[in-house]
Subunit: 317 residues, 2 copies
């Protein structure tokens, strides 16, 4: 008998189907200590229960269906050692995250920021705010990470007239990008990129990638957006470049410490927009996650493999 721990809710309409296939489903709220050793599959990951399963002698856990695209929060080395396979939620988040990137760009370029502050003072600052507006035609966006999310960003950006440059490890070509560079040779074009977006997974190579030297090399008055992981950027360096005006603006959907503590100086950094890790939020996430899960389930039950979205545990994504 195969046992699934529903660490994320399995939509009601699918529970009966699974039971009819002979599967047992345990909901996270009901899991008993003596059941930990019986679980074969985790639908979602729970940071309290998951490690307990991994530490249980003779546990049977073989597959985790993560509810996120990035899986840096999983104990990847332990999973690899124990031969546990992981699938992620890659693909679900491309549209909402890419639309959030466009919301950042247009917020800064169409005078919304200045208009809101002017509105709060009941002032109609037509000329001043008008002169501060920009259009996107003939401007450039540089996207670090050309996976499904990065690609969707490029699709929208091109539609609004931007030139698109994508950065990936090996310079592989991707649709919708006018140009692809590697993470070694992007420097030649960095100063000309009006908008720089981090969409890379967090790995040892990307940790602290966006540092003082990087921000210094960006063009004056340009914009930086982080929707990847907080630890990819040196937050102190970003704050300095915003406070001294080298960058015209930035937005972050992720931070090194989440929830961001009330004491963080990020909250009041000049021209920084903070969205609380919501860019990939999907109202029907559990239904969408189940659709990935049900593609993998028969393959897993038959031969212990996955059909889609398998994570390379050594690469970390």
């Amino acid at each position: 008998m195969t046992v699934i721990l529903a660490a994320e809710p399995i939509p009601e309409q699918h529970v009966e189907d699974l039971q009819q296939q002979g599967l047992t489903i345990i909901n996270l709220d009901n899991v008993q200590p003596e059941q930990l050793a019986t679980i074969d599959i985790m639908f979602g990951w729970n940071k309290m229960v998951g490690p307990k399963i991994l530490a249980t002698p003779n546990h049977r856990l073989k597959w985790i269906q993560a509810a996120s695209s990035g899986v840096d929060y999983l104990p990847l080395a332990t999973l690899s050692e124990q031969g546990i396979i992981v699938s992620n939620a890659k693909g679900m988040h491309a549209v909402p995250i890419a639309q959030t990137v466009m919301s950042y760009i247009l917020y800064f370029t169409r005078g919304i920021r200045q208009s809101l502050s002017s509105q709060a003072n009941k002032e109609w600052r037509h000329h001043e705010i008008g002169r501060a507006t920009e259009t996107l035609e003939h401007r450039t966006i540089m996207v670090f990470g050309t996976g499904q999310i990065g690609h969707q960003i490029a699709v929208y950006a091109k539609a609004l007239g931007l030139k698109t440059i994508g950065i990936n490890r090996h310079g592989e070509k991707r649709d919708a990008f006018d140009e692809i560079l590697t993470d070694q040779d992007y420097q030649t074009k960095l100063a000309d990129a009006d908008f720089v977006v981090n969409m890379m997974p967090l790995t040892p190579e990307t940790e602290n990638f966006f540092d003082t030297a990087f921000f210094n090399a960006m063009g004056e008055g340009h914009y930086f957006f982080n929707l990847g992981r907080g630890a990819s950027i040196n937050e102190t360096a970003l704050m300095a470049q915003l406070n001294n005006g080298h960058l015209a603006g930035a937005a972050i959907d992720v931070a090194q410490t989440e929830p961001l503590p009330e004491t963080s100086p990020l909250w009041t950094t000049t021209n920084l927009v903070i969205t609380p890790h919501i860019s990939g939020y999907i109202p029907d996430i559990h239904e969408r996650l189940f659709r990935i899960f049900e593609q993998n389930l028969p393959v897993f039950l038959t031969d212990g493999q996955l059909a889609v979205n398998q994570v390379d545990l050594s690469a970390g994504y």
Copy 2:
């Protein structure tokens, strides 16, 4: 000798060209009363000097190149009586205004509004704001006015996944709109339009078009944006629908009285964004305006006609 009054600046590099063609250019700041009767062409309109020319016996004014797309501020009846032709700046404003519409949509749907207020309180309201986000796929935008600006709005909206409905007087088909309705039969689809945009010129037919009955017929929780003219909407009705929560949000780039007075209740209306008539602002507007002007100039000099952008004075646009 043909005399041009530069009511808007003619870019320096073009002045000499015009003079070599035998044209005389008078700048607005230097115009003398005795010169008013000598002016053949106005590049731009000035509300102090323009009416004086029209009131001058035996004046020679024959053509006004307006610097805007809408020309409702011109004395259209007088111009028509006096046989003066008008060209507008149609086309220049499509990209910036359409990008502003997208900025409004994404500001409201991607949680930017709630995130900014949360940021001001140093609060990381992940779940609450996440649940309030929306994506644009399978949603609908209804654009009143399918001219160049309305068309550009539809192009961008489709690229971000919206279904596009255009409204014009005779139901003429236009690219990028999935569906076209007339201004008589739009009601059948109005309740399903998540985003309604006014982009119509101000004419007797469009004055007060968006009234209480219209806003009542919109779907609950939907959005209204006005980038046409302030007098097309009943501002009191709009405020009521925002304050009572029937509409989830609105944005206006135009108001009935501009600059909007400090005493206006619009400033503090719930979920209303006010941009101070900046959506069509173009940094190089005089250069772009001159490019329209120079297409018309040889035709005007030869046979008194215009090649592009001629306004129908009886229709008002």
